[in-house]
């Protein structure tokens, strides 16, 4: 296949392959202990983003809003923001309020950091300095620049920027995983534990967005990165940051490195065997320990499965879409199991998507896939015409394409609202690769089984 460079020439976006920036910020804030995400804007933003996040996670997702109306759109939203903060403080007992802006407040130019400073002073006067205010972290997230992923990283960076200090050396590493699933984060925690490595994972949505049933309801879900941990991130012995499309950006990891001289290791999201190997190699380096046997077994079983599954998957063609770093990871994985990624697409525009995919597929693919940033599903479908994919891998929004092409959709990433358990899809590490492989092989077997006029049960 020849590589097409030209992106389809549409100006408008039809069936977007991205969500908006403040949504990502809210997701990140939800992974911090005692935090209430707060959107400064019209109330519809909070409502829409809540309903969307909830449809994936099936968990409460409260986001407060300053509920601006026409008057505030003209005269500024400061008073509403302050009143809203006061209510969230008093009624929800928030330890942190994570304030993200919206198109409205960015367009009218509300100076949020200034309003927050005023608010702090007013509160100190009204309530006395003894009564502790919740921490207020603000991030600028106009949805007219960047996607939910930029919003996610921007919020993490804002948290680090506004809260972390160096309170002395700590025997911990910082781990900035990016937007993974709750079960992915739980798996990472287990891995660190097995390495006897103390890690500050920011953010940590493993409990807050996949919570157990409890007898009592908590207004702010239990879990998330402890604030006391975030405070001391500046003293960590190193930072590990996932995401190849972030390498050239001003990431939270770089901020910690620059401000506190904490060495930074940037690697790809550990999806597939080789990217997971890189993760484990760094853990070995950081701890001076060998990988625990358990993971060698996982790795061994994975390779065994690669061999067993090879006949089903080899030479098959796949379209992969979604958030850039997820697509990069999945593509890395596909290349190593012998599936040919034919089209890699994302609504994001990091500027490093192509390079990252080339890095992870080099030497493995006979021909590079078509790679496009800034794509929507209409354009993906047009490109798919020439690709003859055997499967499509990505979130629920690709279902119409899979249906039209009559190929299986392997659901990964976010949002997943036409299947159950999106929050429990394991993508990363050896076990994640195993899970993806099993699902892909079974989807292909199921398809050929259903296509059989006889219906053999021995496949």
């Amino acid at each position: 296949m020849t590589r097409k460079e030209a992106k389809p020439p549409y100006v408008s976006t039809t069936n977007a392959c991205k969500l908006c920036k403040p949504l990502g910020a809210c997701l990140a804030f939800r992974g911090i202990e005692g935090t209430v995400p707060f959107l400064h804007g019209a109330q519809g933003c909070a409502t829409y983003m809540r309903r969307y996040i909830i449809s994936h996670f099936r968990e409460p997702m409260d986001i407060a809003s300053s509920s601006l109306g026409e008057k505030q759109a003209i005269y500024g939203g400061g008073p509403n923001l302050k009143q809203g903060l006061k209510n969230v403080m008093d009624k929800y007992g928030a330890k942190i309020i994570g304030i993200a802006t919206t198109c409205l407040t960015e367009t009218i130019g509300d100076d949020v950091p200034m309003i927050l400073n005023e608010f702090r002073q007013e509160m100190a006067k009204q309530r006395g300095k003894k009564k502790e205010l919740p921490l207020l972290v603000s991030v600028s997230t106009p949805s007219y620049s960047g996607t939910h992923i930029e919003g996610f990283h921007a919020a993490v960076k804002a948290v680090v920027d506004q809260l972390a200090i160096n309170a002395g050396f700590i025997e911990s590493i910082n781990l900035l995983p990016g937007f993974l699933s709750p079960v992915d984060i739980r798996y990472i925690k287990g891995i660190l534990e097995d390495f006897a490595l103390s890690g500050i994972i920011l953010p940590d949505i493993s409990e807050t967005l996949d919570a157990p049933a409890r007898r009592d309801y908590e207004k702010i879900p239990v879990g998330g990165t402890p604030i006391s941990d975030i405070r001391v991130m500046g003293g960590a012995k190193s930072t590990l940051e996932f995401g190849r499309t972030l390498f050239h950006k001003d990431t939270p990891g770089k901020l910690i490195a620059k401000r506190f001289m904490v060495p930074l290791h940037q690697i790809g999201s550990p999806i597939g065997l080789r990217e997971s190997d890189r993760f484990f190699a760094i853990l070995e380096e950081l701890t001076g320990r060998k990988s625990p046997k358990k993971y060698l077994y996982e790795r061994g079983r994975l390779i065994d499965a690669y061999v067993d599954g090879h006949k089903y998957v080899f030479g098959k063609k796949a379209i992969v879409y979604g958030e850039e770093d997820l697509v990069v990871g999945i593509t890395a994985f596909l290349a190593e199991i012998g599936i040919r990624p034919v089209l890699c697409a994302s609504g994001g525009q990091s500027g490093r998507f192509r390079e990252a995919i080339e890095e992870v597929t080099a030497s493995l693919l006979p021909a590079p896939p078509i790679i496009h940033e800034g794509m929507d599903f209409y354009e993906i479908a047009e490109e798919a015409e020439g690709c003859a994919p055997d499967m499509i891998i990505g979130n629920s929004k690709g279902y119409p394409l899979a249906r039209r092409r009559q190929v299986p959709l392997i659901r990964v990433g976010f949002p997943i609202h036409d299947r159950f358990g999106g929050q429990r899809i394991l993508h990363i590490g050896y076990r994640g690769a195993q899970n993806l492989l099993d699902r892909i092989v079974n989807a292909l077997i199921e398809k050929s089984q259903e296509a059989s006029p006889v219906g053999y049960s021995y496949m």
Partner: protein
């Protein structure tokens, strides 16, 4: 001392004091007016449709959501373009589960989500050019007969003139292009967006195609075909010999809306979102309207009888009665197995601007007590009835939404009944009348408008409803309390719930939820207390 049947130990008046005690004095004074312990012998006034308190986590949406999301979005043979950054369009992309059946031309554009996806340079230099291109591209790709443009917050702020773009593109492409100035910051809730949508549909769509109709034709207003509701209603209508000319807007077709002024009668389901249309169509074309409720077996039968009464033809009335008898027998047989298990259970309904009223009838059919209810974006007339309309004060928020002044159409105005008959029907409350939720809320029931999270928490703990009907945003909060929650916006991906067969679906699902054995498994056998209290997991 008013008390709920299900929790006689709690004095509702005391409960209300406790609820407002959650707030500082100033807020408490305001919130007090939104909470009513019903006493039908008194004229009770409730506060509604006032601005949300910032920082109170609200169920409410925005003007764009009411316009694009609710009223215009379900029209399936039209292309809807969101003018703005990507979020708003994405979040309103099929999320309400309105279904659509393509007509002869095969058009169904509901699965598409068009957006101008505004970027920083559009915010700085203006987005009109991009909007024009977007309209052209949408037209080129799908060749729709009509396109709508919906403004999001930044559009109004930067001053893009979407009305002019719509006029120009309409002339250029030779199709109808409608622009809606439904920026999210307008009005108090999504209710503002309903009104804006009604106005524009009325000005630019209704009354544009004079196609004479045979038989008895109606428009169904404010029915959004969630989970296929409109099709169950249609099935029953077919049996009765009622032809639905158009539906606003579930399973809605722009072609059918254009000829909707030819119908004999308008049926209003969701009064909140569509009453403007009913009122304007009556003034301009002479079509009277009847408030109906197709949710619930008895409500459905009652609504059909109202229609028969309007038509006033013995043959038709007999046919309707026959259908009712047949359908009720079938539905009752379907519901019976569940009734015993649901009898006497309490339901709380906090949803929408009409559903918290409509579903009360269905719960009563199941033998349950829908004794706690409140709307999310209703106005006072939805609670107290249209009689309060003349007394509603115009405030800063309502003033900004255009109130159309309607005169009778010189050619198309046609009385559907002689004056005397019509006045009679009005006097009986059959035509042009909606008494709101109050008549169905008996003594010792509780109404809470625009309930907040903290109020909901206290309500669940003290009044212990067996099920709470709400939307997706509250569902999982409520279930964390161990109380099942039914989504009455998107039906938990199920439905239909309307009509006779819908009632059976609903009964099955409510039984499934209330009697779900999982609730009993929370405590592990080796535990003396609950396995996981919230304290666990805290450091």
């Amino acid at each position: 001392m008013p008390r709920l049947k299900s929790v006689p130990a709690v004095d509702l008046d005391e409960f209300v004091e406790k609820v407002i005690g959650l707030y500082p004095a100033k807020v408490a004074k305001k919130r007090r007016k939104h909470i009513i312990v019903r006493e039908p012998s008194e004229e009770q006034q409730i506060e509604a449709n006032v601005r949300t308190v910032p920082g109170i986590i609200t169920q409410r949406g925005c003007c764009y959501a009411g316009c694009k999301g609710v009223v215009i979005g379900p029209i399936g043979d039209m292309v809807h373009i969101t003018h703005g950054p990507i979020g708003c369009g994405f979040y309103s992309w099929l999320t309400r589960r309105n279904f659509f059946r393509p007509r002869e031309n095969g058009h169904n554009f509901l699965t598409y989500c068009f957006s101008t996806d505004m970027q920083e340079e559009d915010i700085i230099f203006g987005g009109e050019k991009k909007l024009r291109t977007a309209v052209e591209e949408a037209y080129k790709i799908l060749k729709p007969k009509a396109i709508s443009i919906h403004a999001t917050c930044p559009v109004g702020l930067i001053g893009d003139d979407i009305q002019t773009v719509a006029r120009e593109m309409s002339a250029k492409l030779g199709i109808s292009v409608l622009a809606f100035n439904c920026e999210g910051y307008k009005g108090v809730t999504q209710s503002a967006g309903h009104h804006i949508a009604n106005n524009n549909l009325f000005k630019q769509v209704v009354g544009r195609d004079d196609v004479p109709q045979d038989g008895f034709t109606v428009n169904i207003l404010g029915e959004y075909n969630i989970g296929g509701d409109a099709w169950e209603i249609e099935r029953v209508f077919d049996k009765c010999g009622i032809k639905a000319l158009s539906t606003f807007s579930g399973n809605g077709s722009i072609d059918e809306m254009r000829m909707s002024h030819m119908a004999d009668l308008n049926l209003v389901m969701c009064h909140r979102s569509i009453n403007y249309m009913a009122d304007m169509m009556e003034k301009r074309f002479g079509i009277p309207w009847i408030k109906v409720n197709f949710i619930g077996i008895k409500a459905m039968a009652k609504s059909l009888r109202k229609i028969a009464k309007f038509l006033d033809q013995p043959a038709f009335s007999d046919r309707v009665e026959k259908v009712i008898a047949e359908e009720i027998a079938e539905a009752e047989a379907g519901i019976n197995p569940y009734r015993e298990r649901l009898k006497g259970k309490t339901a709380a309904l906090f949803v929408g601007g009409s559903r918290a009223h409509h579903y009360q009838d269905l719960f009563r059919d199941l033998g349950m007590e829908p004794s706690i209810a409140g709307h999310e974006f209703a106005h006072r007339d939805d609670y107290e009835g249209r009689k309060v309309l003349p007394t509603l004060t115009v405030d800063a928020d309502s003033r900004n939404i255009e109130e159309l002044h309607i005169e009778p159409d010189p050619e198309r105005y046609r009385p559907r009944k002689d004056n005397e008959a019509l006045e009679g029907l009005k006097a009986e409350g059959v035509v042009d009348s909606y008494d709101g939720m109050w008549p169905d809320m008996g003594s010792g029931t509780l109404a809470i408008d625009d309930i907040s999270h903290i109020e909901m928490e206290m309500l669940i703990k003290r009044l212990k409803p067996d099920i709470v009907c709400s939307g997706i945003k509250d569902k999982y909060v409520i279930e964390k309390f161990g109380v099942p929650s039914k989504q009455l916006h998107n039906y938990d991906y199920s439905g239909p719930y309307a009509g006779f067969r819908g009632a059976v679906n609903f009964a099955r699902e409510i039984d499934m939820m209330i009697n779900n054995p999982a609730w009993k498994l929370l405590k592990a056998p080796w535990e003396t207390g609950p396995t996981l209290t919230a304290e666990l997991g805290k450091k």
